[in-house]
């Protein structure tokens, strides 16, 4: 290292590289993704094919949608830990309601609790100024309770995954998963919203400096309430999609994805303190985590060692990323 910094020509080169990486933070992330895929290919040659890619995308999409909730809320300095419960509720309600109702009606019924929980979250955080972590944990506790009571009432009715969700969740046409039909417009909408609409700018403004935003005439509670409702609805949609993918109704359907969704947003470069980040990084983060999970599954390791590696890698990637971005 001392050699490279000593030579006059390589020093600016090094600087230029770090400068480039901090200007385009997506580049190192995508590089990391390709390194992971390369390792995967070396570990078990021939695994990288069309089917594998379709499968990876299929499992990355639900995670990416949940991570969108985290990205949006984290931009304002918040976090939404109720997404797992909301998604589970939506998934569970849709399979139980579509026994008696039309699938479209069932889906609308399934999204109703999402809107209610999002509204309560928004009022708690925006009006009463409760810490988002506590507020969303609390509502998710209530949601789990409601879901358990609901389960009692419908247990005899049986379940049925609507054909449409089945097609959307697991179907593949022309080598591409059908879930992309939902995800691509959704992601485009989120990115467009964050970059070019007033609401998106407000999120950054509130997260960057709440007092300044307030003094500039932003109605804080309205922004926050709309944000948490949006986050909950996204989680609800993810629940519907995930139910089509997993096809096994359970009361902990999306719960295991909550913490990885936070990790995906953080790896993607969204600051947990607000005001910085975006959705493109988050999507790459979600794919990285999915590939990482596959990689750790292929390594013949005990479950415990896999979890240790997962945690350490998330931490290392986040630390390295922060260094690159802040090293200006």
């Amino acid at each position: 290292m001392s050699v490279t910094t000593a030579s006059p020509q390589s020093a600016p080169m090094r600087k230029r590289v770090t400068r480039f990486m901090s200007d385009y933070p997506l580049v190192p992330l995508i590089a990391l993704l390709f390194i992971l895929i390369l390792i995967l290919q070396i570990m078990s040659p021939g695994i990288i094919n069309e089917r594998w890619m379709a499968n990876t995308v299929k499992f990355a999409i639900p995670l990416a949608i949940l991570a969108a909730c985290q990205t949006l809320t984290m931009l304002t300095g918040g976090i939404d830990l109720s997404v797992g419960t909301v998604a589970t509720m939506a998934g569970f309600i849709v399979v139980t309601q579509s026994v008696n109702h039309d699938p479209a009606v069932a889906m609308l019924i399934a999204l109703a609790p999402a809107i209610i929980i999002g509204f309560v979250n928004g009022i708690g955080v925006g009006v009463f100024r409760v810490h988002p972590l506590i507020m969303t944990l609390g509502t998710s506790l209530i949601g789990v309770g409601c879901l358990q009571v609901y389960q009692r009432t419908v247990i005899a009715g049986g379940t049925k995954v609507p054909d449409f969700l089945n097609w959307l969740g697991t179907g593949v046409s022309y080598g591409l998963p059908n879930a992309l039909l939902l995800f691509v417009p959704l992601a485009a909408l989120i990115i467009y919203m964050l970059r070019s609409t007033g609401f998106g700018r407000l999120l950054y403004a509130v997260g960057d400096n709440e007092n300044a935003a307030r003094l500039a005439g932003v109605h804080y509670w309205q922004v926050i309430t709309a944000l948490y409702i949006l986050s909950s609805v996204l989680a609800g949609i993810m629940g519907l999609l995930y139910m089509g993918l997993i096809k096994a109704p359970s009361l902990s359907l999306a719960e295991p994805l909550v913490l990885p969704s936070v990790a995906a947003a953080v790896i993607g470069g969204t600051s947990i303190f607000g005001g910085r980040g975006g959705y493109t990084g988050t999507m790459v983060g979600a794919v990285i985590l999915t590939v990482l999970t596959t990689l750790l599954t292929i390594l013949q390791m005990p479950e415990g060692a896999r979890r240790i590696l997962f945690g350490l890698i998330v931490l290392l990637v986040t630390a390295a990323y922060l260094r690159i971005v802040e090293d200006r």
Binding site: H131, I134, I142, G304, L315, T318
Partner: protein, 325 residues
Amino acid sequence: MMRLLRREGWVVGLLVLFIVLLIVAKLIQPNYGANDFISLVRAVLPFAFAVAAQTVAVIAGGIDLSVGSMMALTSVIAASLMNGASESYALFVVPFVLLVGFGLGAFNGLMIVVTRVPDIVVTLAMLFVFQGAALLVLQAPGGASAEWLKNLIVGPISIPGVPVVVTAFIPNALIVLAIALCAVWLPLKRSHLGLSIYAIGSHELAAFRSGVPVARTKILAYAFSGLFAAMGGLALTMSTGIGAPIPGPYLLASVAAVVLGGVTLGGGKGGLMGPIVAVFVLRLVRTILTLLAVDPNVTAIFEGTIMVSVVMLGAYLAMRGSRMP
């Protein structure tokens, strides 16, 4: 007296609430007595240590999402070390496990300081690491606990010369809890380090400029958090007699009790007493709902609603207080 009331108003209020709830329990179930109180305290014990662990981290301006998995890890270490070992061997196991907890916590703090990643993300990653380590130590629930350790938290205390009527209401578990917490917390709070922990929680930059060694204080704060978590792990092994590698619902409960106990997320304010009383209140509410023969699933709704509304009320009062000084 008034000054004490004003300063400790929140804790006193919680204590009053706890006593009211005890009376309610007695009214609902006239048989509710010493034995039920003892089992309540026994059930609270691991929760109380988890809450203590969370409190230290929150006062230092952070949050520790890995509390539950740290408890699971220390619990399986204790249970597998004591498995098939002699009774006196446990005398070495207990300090060793506490030391491990201290080390795990210090590792948390070290990672936060070295990587400069926010506390919540570091402890989230560590949650997976500790959980994985616990699974490596013990695949399935198992192990054993020394008999004397198990008996330590069973039944009421017996003091010679004091009538049984009085001692019947003082569970051994409560004594263990009080001694363990006081032995660590009181010296800590009065020490230079304790002051520094409050200082970095209240305003890190100001603390740094006043000459507080921020990095060292943060690492030590998380180390003490880990120490409490190890006590929680031991309490788990003591009350169940085994160790389980999958963490219980301690993370959510600890955060809830910390907030109910008047410790503000963001740090620098509050003490240990409030959260501990709060966790007793939360558990007692659960007992009362069970006594009322409420469906256990509805209990979760009640708990969540209570937590959310109390937190909203607290935030609302704080807001009004800051607006009208």
